[in-house]
Symmetry: C2
Subunit: 386 residues, 2 copies
């Protein structure tokens, strides 16, 4: 019912009945609840169709707000929005998730309070917080489960900590890649797309899955963990204990390691100069070297893109999406990566699967995570009994 | 509404209103349509709650019937059921799908008419036919698209041909593996399971995907085509043109080929004797030899199971199902195959994905396809405007 009002902005009781298919009695009882809580309000008078002029219902914009938090390994993005999803404030800063949950969450609460104050919103007006974290989350409990890059966060009660600071807020925690897929679905190229995959290529590699216009989390909430699909049975050992995982072979850390190797073994004089200049090398250096035509950098990108493309080709055969969106820090190292991925997918998937398949770089980029977190917060708060 | 009546067998109008949430006017208008077509009927009188004794609605069992057809490469199964899905007749016979659509469909129509007559059902009482075929189907049109093992069937109007014979029947065509997954969902181990994968290991290898309790067909209807996932970049060339596809490396045809090789190169004297006795060897011979402790047969099964298990491990990381069901002719060659698949999946998937994962052989086995075809027919016929 709220969704109907959100969509059409302003509606009569009769229109709500028609749109929802609810009986008049049900419309009346649900509306009474929503008017009572203040989410909806009765406002102007609509056009009469003969009898008494009907009162119209509209959404109470000033009723409340939601926050989105996108926690990365070394940074955090927070945003404040009203219930229609309009962002009214945004802030980002760097921090280290390895400092552990207490100082990091304290910092996030300070950031959120600053945003609230700057926008004259009281903590009591914050009704929902969505938070994406860089690790596996058991969605039902909102608890991180043995996150590899988040020491101290295993089973830490994030929801309880945030609720202590914002007592009226419902808190939803999910992994960062799911939040990014939701952000694309809500405000990015995924809008209106039924079945798509959002692939994040960063230090790690993972994906978020949208099925029938909704996020698909799998039966224990860990769907999309493609970073640990084996691409080379005689490859590097991964931090998960297995050998040749995609993430270990083609993730950001591996690309940076290969850059260091190329600098040290002399195969790339350019990378060697940059290493001497900057002290260390990252995936971004490989992107820069490739832009300068460095053959070794090009080879590393092509090999990484081929491995990622082979995994995506398997998923295309299995899942038959109409769109693959690619984001994450490493996706920015140049067109060669996407070109290689695209070429490999087209070569290795069945024609019937790729005939209508688009593969694009995310346009909302770094904002996908925080937009997804906001969307989850809105959906959760508005999911009152209908 | 029909679903509500089917589930509770007998209902009052008021109960229908409460169960569907429809307004009284909507209940009345939809009911009028269903009573008019004869799908529902008004019967006994229920218990009064004070006023006039309410008339009750029930399902008209004799109203109509549906048929399911499971077409394989060398056989066909047909079944007749009433709208509640109770099978009242079943027949199977061998035929060759390579004879082309006209003689094969003619044969199927004869079989269906025989079943109808044997059960005193007229062709006009047949309201739906679901049919599974061993090739890729564009679901919206019901047309086969370049099916590799069905020469002459490409774009052939199966639906039109069957509707000519059974003018009142709605006809739904889908690929055989999707039908099997639906059969498991409707009448097999998949009942009540939200997210599972049904894997058919036969001459080809494919899977059907259930997401949120419904069949997931993908954006162009070809989800689940895992037979063409690459498992060995330096492997055999597949009929699809690519190299090292799972189907080419571990499908029934490849296993039979490896059996012949083992017979000819002397590595298995047992298989050589059987080849001399039977003229040729199939995957079933490998199963038999394995049961006799033949080392070469065991090795072939282990290698095939490992390749299948590696692909399934990737899919488990991506899709996080709670159940994998395994069926198809080759799945019957002995426990060693399933054991190897299970061990490989557990080794290569993340613990969070496999903690609650079951992997089982289909119990309804060869009946899965025809049961799924029946379920699609029932769902299609009952999907009148609600």
């Amino acid at each position: 019912m709220i969704r109907a009002v959100l969509k059409y902005r302003i509606l009569s009781r009769a229109a709500i009945g028609d749109l929802t298919g609810f009986s008049r009695a049900k419309v009346t009882s649900v509306l009474a609840h929503l008017l009572d809580t203040g989410i909806l309000q009765e406002t102007e008078v609509g056009e009469s169709t003969g009898g008494r002029r009907p009162r119209l219902l509209t959404f109470n914009g000033a009723f409340g707000y939601v926050a989105g938090v996108d926690l990365g390994a070394t940074s955090v993005d927070v945003a404040l929005a009203d219930f229609s999803g309009t962002v009214i404030g945004h802030q980002a800063r760097s921090l280290d998730v390895r400092d552990g949950p207490e100082p990091v969450l304290k910092e996030i609460i300070v950031l959120l309070n600053t945003l609230l104050q700057a926008n004259q919103v009281t903590p009591e007006q914050l009704f929902g917080v969505g938070m994406g974290v860089p690790g596996p989350v058991e969605f039902d409990t909102g608890l991180l489960t043995a996150p590899p890059i988040m020491p101290g966060w295993d089973q830490y009660p994030i929801q309880r900590t945030l609720r202590k600071a914002f007592p009226r807020a419902q808190v939803v925690v999910d992994n960062d890649v799911n939040m990014m897929a939701l952000g694309e679905l809500w405000a990015g190229q995924g809008m209106g797309v039924d079945n798509f995959i959002y692939v994040k290529i960063g230090t790690g590699i993972g994906c978020g899955i949208v099925a029938g216009g909704r996020l698909y989390r799998g039966s224990t909430g860990c769907a999309g963990d493609i970073g640990h699909i084996c691409v080379d049975a005689s490859g590097m050992t991964c931090h998960c204990g297995n050998v040749g995982c995609l993430e270990a072979m083609a993730g950001g850390r591996r690309i940076a390691q290969r850059a260091c190797d190329a600098a040290q073994n002399g195969s790339s004089p350019l990378l060697r100069r940059w290493m001497e200049r900057d002290g260390s090398l990252s995936a971004a250096h490989i992107g820069g070297a490739s832009a300068h035509g460095d053959a070794t950098a090009n080879q590393i990108i092509t090999e990484s893109g081929t491995m990622i493309g082979e995994v995506l080709a398997s998923l295309v055969n299995f899942y038959n999406p109409s769109l693959i969106l690619i984001g994450g820090g490493v996706s920015k190292i140049g067109d060669r990566l996407l070109t290689t991925i695209r070429r490999t997918v087209l070569k290795r998937s069945l024609p019937l699967s790729t005939r209508h398949l688009r593969m694009d770089v995310s346009a909302i980029g770094d904002r996908a995570g925080v937009m997804g977190a906001l969307s989850v917060a809105v959906e959760t708060v508005l999911n009152v009994p209908e």
